[in-house]
């Protein structure tokens, strides 16, 4: 890659990340980071900056297309905001890329230059996985490679002069058929569990829960890329803690006070009962607005340092900023950073801070 484009590209990245002051900042479309499509597909919008110009609005606008459809049929979403008509200039819509979760994790790692996680614990479980890497002449029909088979059949028919352009019917015979073939890959495997804890007391708003949801999605994606069979557990707490399922986790709102120690105690109990640390890689993440009942703080620190931290690969504390919370808990966790190497903490004031915070969480390589 040339130096010139490298410079221009860096400049663009800086603009997008807001590191350079620019009047264009409101024209940056970062897009929503998660748009789940299908089962394992996500779409991520590519960041774009649109330089303002005199353009037509959508009212009364239109164009010409090609294809089936009655009058009144809506066109696909790709058409929206795109009135460039016959030209092939990109319209105003956000560019999207569809990816599998695995590719996604790879990009995440690359973008944030995250180190790969070094699993600890037992590696004696060996799992095997099939990877489809080649082509062969025989196999089950379900693995037939359609395009290759079709091409071979078409070639054969043309060569033997039984192909009729007026009736272009292509019938593959046995010799035409091509199948995907696979290789078994053996991988030593380690297992992991992620325990999410969240403060659901009255001071947490919906916007803050959404931030937690996005963070958790990315943490999931990254950790799942490194372990087979990742389990998750969810704990919500106000003055008391309870274990819940994922849906409840994101949709509960309590009004009570806050006692963080209750969540840490429950977390410790879950680990002792279900996930012995010598067999599991354990990750715990706690999200809160940093408001805690004053007398509870020493108890929290004690639970954390004495009981939890020795068992965990990583403990992450994420503080979402709230209009009500005092945010003092962050300071206590922050103090532990120097002494403990498996503690990370991060402040997440708004959605724009999510990426940076993920880097802080996952940048340790643990």
């Amino acid at each position: 890659m040339g130096q010139r484009i490298e410079r221009d590209h860096q400049r663009f990245r800086k603009l997008v990340r807001g590191k350079v002051k620019s009047n264009l900042s409101k024209y940056i479309s970062r897009g929503e980071m998660i748009g789940k499509k299908g089962k394992d597909l996500v779409s991520i919008p590519l960041p774009q900056i649109e330089i303002p110009q005199f353009r037509y609005g959508s009212k009364n606008s239109g164009g010409v297309g090609q294809g089936e459809g009655d009058i009144g049929t809506p066109l696909g979403p790709g058409k929206q905001g795109d009135n460039s008509g016959a030209g092939d200039q990109p319209g105003g819509h956000i560019l999207e890329v569809e990816l599998t979760l695995e590719e996604m994790a790879a990009i995440l790692g690359e973008e944030l230059s995250l180190p790969r996680i070094e699993p600890r614990g037992k590696k004696n479980i060996v799992s095997s996985r099939d990877k489809y890497t080649g082509i062969r002449q025989s196999g089950p029909e379900s693995l037939r490679h359609f395009k290759r088979t079709f091409k071979r059949a078409l070639k054969r028919q043309i060569a033997s002069q039984i192909y009729d352009p007026e009736r272009p019917i292509v019938v593959p015979i046995r010799e035409d058929k091509q199948y995907r073939s696979w290789k078994e890959v053996h991988l030593p495997q380690s297992v992991a569990v992620i325990i999410y804890m969240m403060d659901v007391s009255g001071s947490m708003t919906d916007e803050q829960k959404e931030i937690v949801r996005i963070e958790a999605f990315w943490i999931d994606t990254w950790i799942k890329a490194h372990y087979k069979g990742v389990e998750t557990a969810y704990i919500i707490h106000d003055a008391a803690a309870q274990e819940v399922d994922e849906h409840t986790f994101y949709h509960t709102r309590e009004s009570g006070g806050t006692k963080i120690s209750s969540a840490y105690a429950l977390c410790d109990k879950i680990i002792s009962n279900r996930y012995p640390p010598d067999a599991w890689n354990i990750y715990a993440f706690h999200f809160s607005d940093g408001d805690n009942w004053g007398d509870d703080i020493p108890h929290c620190i004690e639970l954390l340092t004495e009981k939890l931290l020795p068992k965990l690969n990583l403990f992450g504390y994420g503080q979402v900023e709230s209009p009500y919370g005092s945010g003092e808990f962050y300071e206590y966790i922050h103090e532990m950073l120097g002494e403990r190497n498996n503690v990370v903490c991060s402040r997440i004031p708004d959605r724009d801070a999510i990426l940076g915070s993920i880097k802080e969480f996952l940048g340790t390589g643990r």
């Binding site: 890659m1 040339g2 010139r4 484009i5 410079r7 221009d8 590209h9 860096q10 400049r11 663009f12 990245r13 002051k21 620019s22 009047n23 264009l24 590519l46 960041p47 774009q48 900056i49 330089i51 303002p52 110009q53 005199f54 353009r55 037509y56 609005g57 959508s58 009212k59 009364n60 606008s61 239109g62 164009g63 010409v64 297309g65 090609q66 294809g67 089936e68 459809g69 009655d70 009058i71 009144g72 049929t73 809506p74 066109l75 696909g76 979403p77 058409k79 009135n83 460039s84 008509g85 016959a86 030209g87 092939d88 200039q89 890329v97 990816l99 590719e103 091409k151 043309i158 060569a159």
Partner: protein, 518 residues
Amino acid sequence: MLTPYNTNLPADLRALKEEIEGYARGYGLDFYETIFEVIDADDLNEIAAYGGFPTRYPHWSFGMAYEQLRKGYDYGLSKIYEMVINNDPCYAYLMRCNHTVDQKLVMAHVYGHCDFFKNNAYFAHTSRKMMDEMANHGTRIRRYVEKIGEDEVEAFLDKCMSIDDLIDIHSTAIRRREEVSRYDFSPEVDESDGIRGTRFKSKGYMDDYINPRSVLKAEEDDRKKLKEQAARSFPEQKQKDVLLFLIEHAPLKTWQRDVLSIVRDEAYYFTPQGQTKIMNEGWASYWHSTIMTQKGLHPSEVIDYADHHSGTMATHGARLNPYKLGIELLRNIEHRWNTGKFGKEYDECDDLEKRRKWDKQFGLGRQKIFEVRRVHNDITFIDTFLTPEFCVEHQMFSYAFQEQAGQYVIESRTFDKIKQRLLYSLTNFGKPWIYVVDGNYRNRGELLLQHQHNGVDLRLDQAADTLANIQFIWGRPIHLQTMVDDKPTVLSFDGTDHSIRTGGESDEPKRNSPAKTR
């Protein structure tokens, strides 16, 4: 030319090039010497991001284009097949990892483009040494960056690029006014000085009655007023080349004037490519298809060729593919002129069966499409050759934005509507028409622009910011007359505040819009 890329074509590709070039010349294609460079995907993405010119000036927008191209390529979503530069010699790029059959296809396609660049009337005025000029532009802007600072130059470039479409695309063919020199200081001749008021002959004592003083005074006032108005109408006629107006009259620093001129020059250079997108791609596709299927293909390559050709011609969703539309329309013309399906006799024939079987054996098709490629642009091409039969055959439809549903829906399949929508979207590249009306508005040095409204409103948020960019360049407050919801509206920006005035305050007469869409 100096590019960081190795321009030595390997022997096998050199042989292919000579072969394909021979076929192309054999068909009567006429082009400048064409230099092929073999490069990797990453380099191709870089060059494409710079609009084909590796030596272009630095700007983040090229970095953005690069990121999109690279990610598209890395994730296997898109791939640039061919890239060719209008220059003498022509430069074209081949991707190293392509198969032989792809390289042949690309070469044949490229010769089609090169012929079009050299022979189409709308390219006649373009600089054929643009590689060098772009490099000069790049050097100049880099020098300003060093001298003045990256942030300031970039911020100014952002503003220039925000208005780089405000040029007069027809001015290359029409001389709108005499050349004006900024260094012409000869005094203006005042014609009205010689003329005195309308005085009738009279004897001295009757003078006050035959030539009343009040009338003479009124006449004198009228003349003064007219003179003032003439002095105030600046520019003399409304001017579409807003960039030129700013370059000539805005209080810019020398480097700013130069940067704005660079942006304007490049905009004019790229204009014909936009004006002839459908024809140019259609012409190149017609020739790669003709050359490959008649001469170039080895039997073992037919299937791969067909696969890739159909990939290029595919329409995605409802979107018109200029390659497809262009090649089909050219083939349609060739067919019509071969069989004589044109002229009065054919047009007046209303026997469907007779029309279908019409064949006068004229054999003029090839000759006709060569003529078409010489004299037409997309607008005249569609206007002249789109037929109702063609629209039906290719399932064309027009679509419109439906406000209640907030989305585009299929609006009609009638020929008139399709043609109207298509021409509308091609006219001025589907962008609004903006003119400079007055450079001394309200006699306060303010700038008055006018949007010639023809059916579709402006996007107001972007219009406001674009105005702010022009205001920065102009220095004084700026106004734009437009229509919003059928009411005359003036958007203004005085350097700190935006304002919108709606209603009868505008002196723009309500226009009868030819392309009114309701």
